[in-house]
């Protein structure tokens, strides 16, 4: 189904969170009442200090964590109300790029990328592809966009952290999700590659008219590439503004606990930062 079929679909294709709360089993309040409404085709960056709840929020949006309270609507469905079959269909339309992608080390890159469509393929096709990859061209196409085409038949344990992150990205691009989520997708890449990769995610979202939500540790990347920026602090939304309206005061407050603003390069219009970007493990 093409995502651009008029206003009706545009409304049902976004997502909305209403008063979403999530308390982990150990009693930690990861999300404390999050309201977030995003229309189809919007591109949103999530920023905030480590442990602010960005990953939890993304996993709620990926229908992989069930909130303890509140209402979640994704792409016109309600994951925790719908039947398991409908939920599985919904999940195959959502793609989340994980920060440290858990890809089996013995798997070949081509298989890891093709696994993106397991939710859409019948079982026989998935099994056949283990013997002989059914769509190596498709996998190669997505890898080429990330400058990884020559590693198509390499084993994943031969890759660096940044390359593995690009394989995970290629998998989600190959999945062609209608809701594209990314959890610090460039945390293992150098600044130049980070820039290219974040640009690519945005380009993909614009080209296919799909919704993009990415959490980024580097604030400047978020401000440069995303029209809408959401600041997350202590499990709640601190601000939700167009990128141009995010002030330095807001950012200082958001990262008060970390002491310095995490940047990949230079802030537009601010003095050069004193610290290199913080990298999460």
């Amino acid at each position: 189904m093409s995502p651009l079929h008029g206003a009706q679909i545009r409304i049902t294709m976004g997502f909305s969170l209403e008063g979403v709360r999530l308390t982990h089993a150990n009693g930690f309040h990861a999300l404390r009442g999050v309201d977030l409404h995003v229309a189809a085709g919007e591109r949103v960056a999530l920023i905030g200090a480590s442990g602010a709840g960005k990953t939890t929020l993304l996993r709620v949006l990926a229908a992989s964590l069930r909130p303890t309270g509140g209402r979640v609507r994704l792409l016109g469905g309600e994951p925790w109300v719908d039947s398991p079959r409908v939920l599985r269909r919904l999940r195959s339309r959502i793609g989340l790029v994980h920060q440290s992608p858990p890809i089996p080390p013995r798997q070949r890159v081509v298989t890891a990328v093709l696994a993106g469509r397991l939710g859409q393929w019948p079982l026989w096709k998935a099994l056949a592809s283990l013997v002989l990859p059914v769509d190596p061209e498709g996998a190669a196409r997505e890898l080429a966009r990330l400058d990884m085409a020559e590693r198509l038949y390499a084993r994943c344990d031969r890759l660096s952290g940044g390359q593995l992150q690009r394989v995970a990205l290629a998998r989600v691009l190959y999945q062609q999700p209608e809701l594209l989520l990314a959890d610090e997708p460039v945390s293992a890449m150098d600044p130049a590659l980070s820039e290219l990769t974040v640009a690519l995610l945005n380009e993909e979202a614009v080209r296919r008219g799909v919704t993009l939500v990415a959490s980024l540790h580097a604030v400047d990347l978020a401000l440069r590439h995303f029209p809408r920026v959401v600041g997350v602090k202590e499990g709640a939304i601190a601000f939700d503004l167009p990128a141009a309206e995010v002030t330095e005061a807001l950012l200082r407050d958001l990262y008060a606990a970390e002491g310095a603003l995490p940047l990949a390069g230079e802030m537009p219009g601010t003095p050069a930062p004193g610290l290199p970007p913080l990298r999460c493990a």
Partner: protein, 273 residues
Amino acid sequence: MSTPVRDPEALPRLGWTLLALVLLWPLLRLTDFRPAALFEAGNLQAMGHFLGGFLPPETAPEFLAMLARATVETLAMATAGIALSMLLAVPLGLLMTRSLSISRLGPGRGGWVGQILRGLARGVLAVLRGVPELVWALLFVRVFGLGAAAGVLALGITYGGMLGKVYGEILESTDARPARILLEAGSGRLAALCYGLLPNAAQELVSYTVYRWECAVRASVVMGFVGAGGLGQLMDQSMKMLNGGEAASILATFLVLVLAADGLSGFLRRRLA
């Protein structure tokens, strides 16, 4: 100034260690475990006498021909038994594996259904392997009469229970995250198994299966009791006739088969590495 670095778990750990030691002692007493008896002069002589009866191994051509035929029969029974046991073990083992549960994502609804099914699978596997293969064999002899069918079926059932339990546990102890992110992207259970768990678990699964096949070869001694033929029956006859030389040749054959199984396992593990 020094801050105390006392391990908060020190007391429980110490307690469990002491308990394990205290429990072990009466167990050794109960089994009348006296390793020194092995080396008492009279006992050494008795053992030497017994083992001496095994020499030299029987090498008469007609016996060797019989041995070869019995070996082939044994391999056929062990292989058929393992194949049968995998028919039981694979579905039950998968059913037992929590990492392949879709309802646990979230966690979603219907989790109790999965929990009951997992418990049932665990129970069925325990019953299958809880009864020794000899008892199953004696039961099936009443249905199929003396012969290989009863033995193969008995092996299949007991080993199905063992394989299923260990398959499930190997899959459980494999990194569950690759399969979980596939399930979270809408993949089915079997596809998540093949793309997420097997790449990491295949080596161990294969090596355990080959080891069980090796055990099945040895278990063919049991088949002798139910007249299934093979090395077991040959062994039974030789022992009854107190023919130590023949028994030694049969034991040597077992040794070769075990070494072969070891080689096969090593080869497969290298292929899957």
